[in-house]
């Protein structure tokens, strides 16, 4: 506490009163060591200054570290941003004004970059057709179409190939390090060929070391062989370089060539003409067949319209939405009832073993919920699960629609009620016991006294908690994904499951399907946001939270 803290006030000043004693002035303590600086120093303590300079120095170093790769990649906008942020931090911490900003900047910077920016990015992605096959620009799609149709011709030049990546060997972008017959090494990526400086080339033509690239071992190349087959380096005017095996590459002619005058791609082998469709972001021929490489285009509200009006998508969207609401309401309601009932049972003076019961009852809340979901999943196992074993049943819990739903709700009640019990216990203790007793003396039975006196008082404290619990369960990804992964899938529609919440559905569309549908998944995220905010705002409107701000 401040009163006993040695580093409190400057010499001669009264010691800081503690909150419990601040009504009675503390005695003067001239013997205390003075605070460095005191009232005449505007800069605070020397230690503080040193820490501040140290942190600013560290931050500058971070800024330099951040600029270097951007400079190599010639990303001037990125450099501008980094410089602006470093400048802002310097301004905030070196100027005498803007004191609140000194406290807000660290948290707000993180919030901006890793929450607000992703939210805006989600919104802008939600109006595009971004998905596998529609990731880049039209130019990228054209060069991919051309270079992937490259075939070997009689006079094709050959190269010695070294496969490398930018960054991580498993996930980094693939590049080809190519050594031609003269022994000159160059680097080729999805954008084309460029010179390779500072590389070590063996006599065989293999590159063993190159600045900025990670050379892959044969095993690592093998792991990415699928990508390798679809990788080609465009070399302009309908030519490109493709790999042939793991250590040679050849430059050949493209079968499919883009012609700007007709905005179309002609296939030299079949004679098919694929015309660009800028609304759908792909090349289509007369029969309506498309080339797999497309580009990202703005589709406006199409993604939203799709799950609102397209019959097949709308039916799964609305059935998931309905179950999502039912799930959140059921879990919140049951958790509240069970938690409150337990709290009321223990809410009695002089009950033996109260602490013991409390510890046992709170135990599920203190366990790791992630591990417990996985545990419950196996407890519901049809053949070996302990639930069927103990009850002597043979229910296929996760195989049937309602079995899975009951199981998901049950597991969540187990995990959720201790929290409600804790909150309800605290709220009950704040309500004077005499109120209920007075009602009973006036002739109310215990239920009436509870229903009309205790419960309304309790709800004042519990309503915000219930709203928060509802909002949490509405998006409770772990609760469903770790138990059922959203399944069982409806037989008529392969993407929607019986226990799917909107968030698990979004996750599956973006990360667990054969072709990732980022644009559509982002549109679903925006829909969830709209639904949750409508529900929360209407319910919070009545509570005082928003009015208290001033």
């Amino acid at each position: 506490m401040a009163a006993s803290d040695n580093a409190g006030a400057p010499e001669g000043a009264p010691a800081h009163p503690s909150p419990t004693t601040h009504s009675s002035p503390a005695p003067r303590r001239p013997s205390r060591s003075p605070l460095p600086g005191g009232r005449f120093a505007r800069e605070g303590s020397r230690v503080g200054q040193v820490v501040k300079i140290g942190l600013l120095g560290l931050f500058t170093a971070l800024g330099v570290w951040a600029v270097l790769p951007l400079y190599i990649g010639e990303n001037w906008l990125g450099i501008g941003l980094v410089v602006a942020v470093v400048g802002l931090v310097y301004y905030v911490y070196l100027s005498k004004r803007s004191v609140p900003a000194k406290y807000l900047v660290p948290g707000v910077l993180f919030l901006m970059v890793f929450q607000i920016f992703p939210v805006l990015y989600t919104m802008s992605t939600s109006v595009t057709n971004m998905s596998d096959g529609h990731r880049g620009s039209k130019e990228q799609a054209v060069s991919a179409v051309e270079s992937l149709s490259v075939t070997r011709t009689a006079d094709s030049p050959e190269y010695v190939l070294t496969v490398a990546t930018v960054g991580d060997p498993e996930t980094g972008e693939l590049v080809f390090l190519l050594t031609d017959a003269e022994g000159d090494a160059r680097v080729g990526d999805a954008d084309g060929l460029s010179d390779l400086g500072g590389a070590t080339v063996e006599d065989s033509g293999k590159v063993t070391d190159a600045f900025g690239y990670t050379i892959l071992t044969p095993a690592e190349v093998n792991e990415r062989s699928g990508e390798l087959e679809e990788f080609a380096v465009p070399t302009g005017s309908g030519a490109g370089i493709r790999s042939s095996g793991l250590s040679t590459a050849y430059e050949g002619r493209a079968l499919r060539v883009y012609d700007e005058s007709c905005d179309c791609v002609t296939d030299a082998e079949t004679g098919d003409v694929y015309t660009a469709d800028d609304e759908r972001g792909a090349f289509y021929n007369d029969e309506g067949q498309r080339l797999p490489q497309g580009w990202q285009v703005n589709v406006g509200a199409d993604n939203f319209a799709r799950f609102l009006f397209d019959p097949s998508f709308a039916s799964s969207f609305f059935s998931i939405l309905l179950w999502n609401i039912v799930f959140a309401v059921a879990v919140t309601g049951l958790v509240f009832v069970v938690g409150l009932a337990v709290a009321l049972t223990l809410h009695v003076p002089k009950m033996r073993g109260k602490v013991f019961y409390r510890v046992l009852v709170v135990l599920p809340y203190a366990m790791s919920s992630l591990a417990m979901y996985l545990l419950w999943r196996d407890m519901f196992n049809t053949d070996f699960g302990v639930i069927n074993q103990v009850l002597g049943l043979r229910i296929d819990w996760f195989g049937s629609v309602w079995g899975a739903r009951v199981a998901v709700v049950l597991a969540n009640v187990w995990l959720g009620y201790p929290y409600m019990f804790l909150v309800a216990t605290g709220a009950l203790q704040a309500i004077p016991r005499e109120l209920g007793q007075a009602a009973q003396i006036d002739g109310a039975n215990p239920w009436q006294a509870f229903r009309h006196v205790t419960l309304p008082l309790l709800m004042v404290a519990m309503t915000p908690i219930l709203v928060a619990t509802f909002a949490f369960n509405f998006n409770n990804f772990n609760a469903v994904w770790l138990l059922t992964r959203g399944g069982p899938l409806f037989s008529d529609n392969s993407t929607a499951g019986a226990t799917d919440l909107l968030i698990t559905y979004t996750y599956r569309l973006a990360f667990n399907e054969a072709t990732a549908q980022y644009g559509y998944a982002a549109a679903l995220s925006v829909m969830i946001f709209l639904i949750v905010s409508v529900i929360s705002v209407t319910s919070l409107w009545r509570s005082k939270a928003l009015k208290e701000v001033g």
Binding site: H22, G167, Y357, V386, A522
Partner: protein, 301 residues
């Protein structure tokens, strides 16, 4: 019911054992019965996971509610067949660092919101509430796309790295927790920091030496909540950490039972208990703050 039944009557002073017993049954007895039922419901999964962890056969099909043996084979398998220690270290790294930094960032912001009046304060506070409706994991697609390109420039914070995921977690540092803290800061009398400032203390000294020691309970509760939610976080981690070595314990356990559900159940059970251990420990040490912290937020509304 919360209300004691008050019995009055002429026989009050001369009750027999039978009456006393029935009185006990109506007042307290049924409560004990209810509590035993609830405790059984609360305990049986925990008992099952403990007995499965000790089960010498280590399969789901041979696991019973009651322990059938006591062997450490499952623990040995877990340590030798999986990178368990790396997973555990990763989990603790994320949980501890995120909790510590979040508490610091949140307390800094709460101090500004509670003690200073500035332009944009109201907007900032309401904005924090609004952004809660768009939790980070909803933006998972954007975060994924964002880090696909960040990883190209900075492999050190790309996918499969600790720092990248930690940065994402820290994006959620200012949240409803800041509100909770601000509410608690508001209860500390303003005279305290005003008198310190009169004595020449700078705003930073007031914050670190006067405010922080006084708001320890709310720092503890926020730290606990962040710790628990980070150690149980699955969605963001599963998109970020795909390499086996980079995984957290939760993701690792998911993989252990995903590959072979029946056979690895013993190993999973040991892991589940060990994953719960840190949360149990923080709970034990912070229990006196828990009810207080949770309900102070509740009553404030």
């Amino acid at each position: 019911m919360s209300v004691d039944t008050v019995r009055t009557g002429p026989a009050r002073h001369r009750r027999g054992t039978g009456t006393r017993l029935s009185l006990w049954a109506t007042r307290l007895g049924w409560r004990h019965v209810v509590m035993w039922v609830v405790a059984a419901f609360a305990l049986f999964p925990v008992m099952f996971v403990v007995s499965a962890a000790l089960n010498p056969l280590g399969t789901l099909s041979s696991s019973q509610l009651w322990p059938t043996g006591a062997s450490l084979d499952n623990a040995r398998d877990l340590f030798s067949n999986t990178p368990f220690t790396t997973w555990y270290a990763n989990s603790l790294f994320f949980a501890l660092t995120n909790a510590a930094v979040t508490v610091l960032l949140s307390a800094l912001a709460a101090y500004a919101f509670s003690r200073m009046r500035f332009k944009g304060r109201k907007v900032g506070l309401i904005g924090l509430l609004v952004i809660q409706m768009f939790p980070q994991f909803l933006a998972i697609v954007a975060i994924y796309l964002m880090f696909s390109s960040i990883g190209e420039y900075y492999p050190a914070i790309g996918f499969d790295t600790r720092w990248g995921l930690l940065l994402v977690y820290l994006g959620g540092a200012l949240s409803i927790n800041t509100w909770l803290m601000k509410g608690f800061f508001d209860t500390v009398p303003k005279e305290l920091d005003e008198s310190a400032q009169m004595d020449g203390a700078t705003h930073a000294q007031v914050f670190f030496r006067i405010m922080l020691p006084l708001v320890t309970p709310v720092l503890a509760i926020v730290g606990l909540l962040v710790f628990i939610s980070t150690i149980n976080e699955f969605l963001l981690a599963s998109v970020f950490l795909r390499d086996t070595e980079a995984k957290t314990l939760g993701l690792g356990l998911y993989q252990v039972v995903a590959s072979s559900r029946n056979a690895n159940f013993g190993m999973f059970s040991v892991g589940a208990i060990l994953l719960s251990l840190p949360t149990l420990i923080v709970f034990w040490f912070l229990q006196r703050f828990i009810t207080e912290g949770l309900t102070s937020g509740a009553v404030k509304g």
